[in-house]
Symmetry: C2
Subunit: 229 residues, 2 copies
Amino acid sequence: MAIHHGLDLGPDRDLDALPLRERKKIQTGSRIFRAAIGLFAERGFDQVSVAEIAAAAEVSKMTVFNYFPTKEDLVLGPMEQHLDEPARVVRERAPGSSAVAALREHFLAALERRDPATGLNDDPVVLDVIRLIHATPALALRATSAFDRRAQNLLADELRTQDPDHDGLTAKVAAGQLLAVRLTLIGGNHLRMLAGERAGDALPDALDEARRAFAVVEHGLGAYCAGAA
Amino acid sequence: MAIHHGLDLGPDRDLDALPLRERKKIQTGSRIFRAAIGLFAERGFDQVSVAEIAAAAEVSKMTVFNYFPTKEDLVLGPMEQHLDEPARVVRERAPGSSAVAALREHFLAALERRDPATGLNDDPVVLDVIRLIHATPALALRATSAFDRRAQNLLADELRTQDPDHDGLTAKVAAGQLLAVRLTLIGGNHLRMLAGERAGDALPDALDEARRAFAVVEHGLGAYCAGAA
DNA sequence: CAGGCATTTTGGACTGGGTCAATTCTTCAT
DNA sequence: ATGAAGAATTGACCCAGTCCAAAATGCCTG
């Protein structure tokens, strides 16, 4: 719930107007997060113990777990509020537009505003996070868990509600395809950032890739089906 | 490599002809596995410690980790030799057949032989495993990790090799779509089994669903793109 | 059949993630 | 002020997973 650190977007109510307690909480969370990312970036995720992070943030180990349920959440937590987003986008789409179009446009818009969730963002801290994800199997695993049963079912339910002529199977398959293409695109953007590209420079290519990728989902892999090349 | 328990298919050379040592190893592995699944099914994955499993299998804790690298592998290990399978299937497909067709036929064949990896199998132990996966978030996470960057890249490389006219993006997207549809179908089969259906009875429906799902991947989600219903 | 070799098994000690009951501190109503 | 309520914090604890030296077991040769 709380806004832990500099990464969260959201309704940015000004910090100074909050009761003292809330402000301290935010500061502590931010201090823990920055200490963690700093140490991780320096020595690697597995080579840093939570106790060290606690010491660096001048807090007890327990307090770290109070703010972040697991060690992995220190890296991934910020990006993981978005589980129900695809379903919401489809539900709230403009009347007359298709579900696929809604998700495509939503992703393109996120790219343009350099939303860290798209992977197209060269903020130093975001870069550290991306590097960590790629260097640590456990983190990579959880990062792809956007392709989760919950997420897929949420989206499938939404698709079925909106297009009631489709059966459950088609909806689930469609939901899976849509979540998968999103992950693929994010992965591609991560690679750009890891290669040192600036987010601004990479934007045109990223937009183009996204459009083409969604087109593949819309029109099928037919080409791979036409027999040997 | 070793054949741990009753689940593994593979080149079933008769056990009795093996050197005594190998036989004991198989027996021990199987004893540990069955003890673990039994206790997990009874009290839940998180409510059983590795020490208890070791005691139940009359083995030391160390030996458990000798046979299964992690506690999760006690449940998932058996089904996880298959990471590179999609890439292999595409690589070794009959000349003239498409990549999509190869993967579809491979999955259909696996369904017909009730391969546990398809989720369509009502062996009591397999059922326990399926129940555990659905009841334990950590296991569910790893079970969907077939949608892994490694797996996706392996398959994408294979697709690009075979159809060199396609660029990297299309190959990665296609690989993602193909892995995703596989996971979706497996999930559907799990639901059937959890609902108490017999694998034999569910087979026709499962085959039909698989065919339709792969058709969606081949021809696209177009319908969801046609605007509001 | 004896005994040496290689591999497995074992017990124990240790690290580090994660949880719990109790303690301390902040805030607020009287 | 003061005492109650509630939150932040803490130290003690449990368990997964690793490391090591020693004991046990199957295997092979003399």
